[in-house]
Amino acid sequence: MQQIINFFIRNKNLLLFLLLLFLSLKFTYHSNTFHKNKFVSSANFITGNIYIIKSDITTYFGLRKENELLLEENSRLKNLLQLSETEAVALTDSIFDMLDFVYHPAEVINNNFSRRNNYLTLKSGSRHGIDRAMGVITSNGIVGITDQVSTNFSTVMSVLNSRSSISVKLKASGHFGSLIWDGKDPNVLQLIDISRLAPVAVGDTVTTDGRSTIFPKGIPVGTVLDFTLDQSQNFFIIDIKLFNDMTRTENVYVIENRRADEIRELEASIPND
C-alpha cells in the first residue's frame, strides 16, 4: 500500500499530465462528432459577449459593402413581389403559415476561414427560433449548418470544414453530388460523386438539391471553375467557385424547416435492412 502511494506521489506530474491530455483529446474527439452536445463551444455567455464587442467594432469597416448587398437583395425581392401581386394573391398571415421554410435573420459575430475546420458564431440562439441542424445562407448563397445552440448564441459549421458535406446538384442537368472542402482556398469548394456521364461545363451553376431537410431546393451555391476525373475514373471532382464570399459574411439567414421533424420521423420509421 505504502509503495502504491509513493508511486503516485513520485509520478504525480506525469499522472496529472496524462489525465489532462486524455481530457483534452476527449474534447477534441467530441468536437469531431457532429450534432452531439459539446462542452467546449463558443455559443456560451462569456465568449458570445466578447465576440459581440469584437463585431461591434469590426462591422463598421464593412458597412458600405453590407448596405450595397442588402439593397441589391431588397430590389430583387421587390421585383419578385411585383410578380406575385399581379397574380392577385393576397399575402396574408395564413399564407405565411403554410410555408414550409421560415427565414430568421441573424448577425455573424465571429467568422473563421483560414483553419481546416471553420466555425461561425451567430448573435441569435434558441430564443430567436434557432435550433440545431438548420441551414444558414446569405442573400448570395450557402454558408453552413447550425451546430451548437444556446439561449442567445449559436455556432455554425461553415462549408469550409472538413466534416461538412452538403448535397447539391448541377442546375442544368440535375445530377447531384456532395459539396466538400479540401482546405486550400476559402472560395473554392469541391463537388464529388458526380458521374462521369454527367454533362459538365465550366461556368455551370450549382444549387442545393432539396433532398435534405436542411436546405430548400434551388439555393444558389456557385459556378463550376474546373473539373477532373478522380482516381477511379468514374466520378468527377469539380472545383466550385462560391457565389458567397466566405471571408466577409456579416448578415445571414437561418432557415427553419417546419416539416423537418415530420420528414425525419417518417424516414426513421423505414426499417433498416
Binding site: L20, F27, S42, K54, S114, R115, G183
Partner: protein, 168 residues
C-alpha cells in the same frame, strides 16, 4: 509575490483578448496563423510548482478552445508545452536555471531565442497536427507549423521588446 500573481493574471487576460481580437484575424497567405497567447507560458516565472503549471497550461488552452470551437486541441498543445518546459529551460539555459529566480526577459539572447523557438514550434506542431489530423497532409502540417511558428516567434520578440520593463 501578490504583485507577480496580479501581473500574470493581467497577462493571461490581455494575451487571450489580443489573440481573439487581433491575431486570430491575421490570415497571412491563407495558412499562417500566429498564436501569440503561448507567450503566457513562455514568460511564466521559472520557479513554479509544476502541478500548478500543468493546470494553468491546460486552462489557458481550454480558454482558447472555447473561443475558436476547436474542441481540445489548444488545451492538448499547451499541456504538452507546459509539461516539456523544464526540459526546454535546461536545454536552453543550462541546468542551473531552476535554482535561479531569473526572468526570461533578462536571459542571454541566444538561449532565449532557442527557448522561445522550442516552445512555440512544439505548440504549433501539435496544434496543427491535431487540427488537420491526417497523415496524408503531413507536408501541409509541417509547412503550416513552420511558417506560423516563425511568424509567432517574430511577434513574440517584438511584443517582449515593447513591453519590457527597463532595468534601473
Amino acid at each position: 509575490m501578490t504583485n507577480e500573481v496580479l501581473i500574470n493574471i493581467a497577462r493571461f487576460v490581455a494575451l487571450i483578448l489580443a489573440q481573439v481580437f487581433i491575431f486570430d484575424n491575421i490570415h497571412l497567405f491563407g495558412f499562417i496563423n500566429p498564436y501569440i497567447y503561448i507567450l503566457f507560458l513562455v514568460l511564466f516565472p521559472v520557479r513554479v510548482n509544476s502541478l500548478q503549471f500543468l493546470l494553468l497550461g491546460f486552462f489557458l488552452g481550454l480558454t482558447m478552445d472555447f473561443f475558436s470551437d476547436t474542441g481540445g486541441i489548444h488545451a492538448a498543445a499547451c499541456l504538452v508545452v507546459a509539461y516539456l518546459r523544464p526540459i526546454f529551460l535546461r536545454f536552453s539555459f543550462g541546468v542551473s536555471i531552476e535554482y535561479n529566480s531569473i526572468k526570461i526577459s533578462n536571459t542571454p539572447g541566444g538561449g532565449r531565442l532557442t527557448y522561445i523557438s522550442l516552445m512555440v514550434f512544439t505548440h504549433h506542431l501539435i496544434l496543427f497536427f491535431l487540427e488537420i489530423f491526417s497523415l496524408k497532409h503531413t507536408l501541409f502540417i509541417l509547412k503550416s507549423a513552420l511558417f506560423s511558428s516563425i511568424f509567432t516567434i517574430l511577434l513574440s520578440l517584438i511584443l517582449m521588446v515593447i513591453f519590457s520593463t527597463k532595468k534601473r
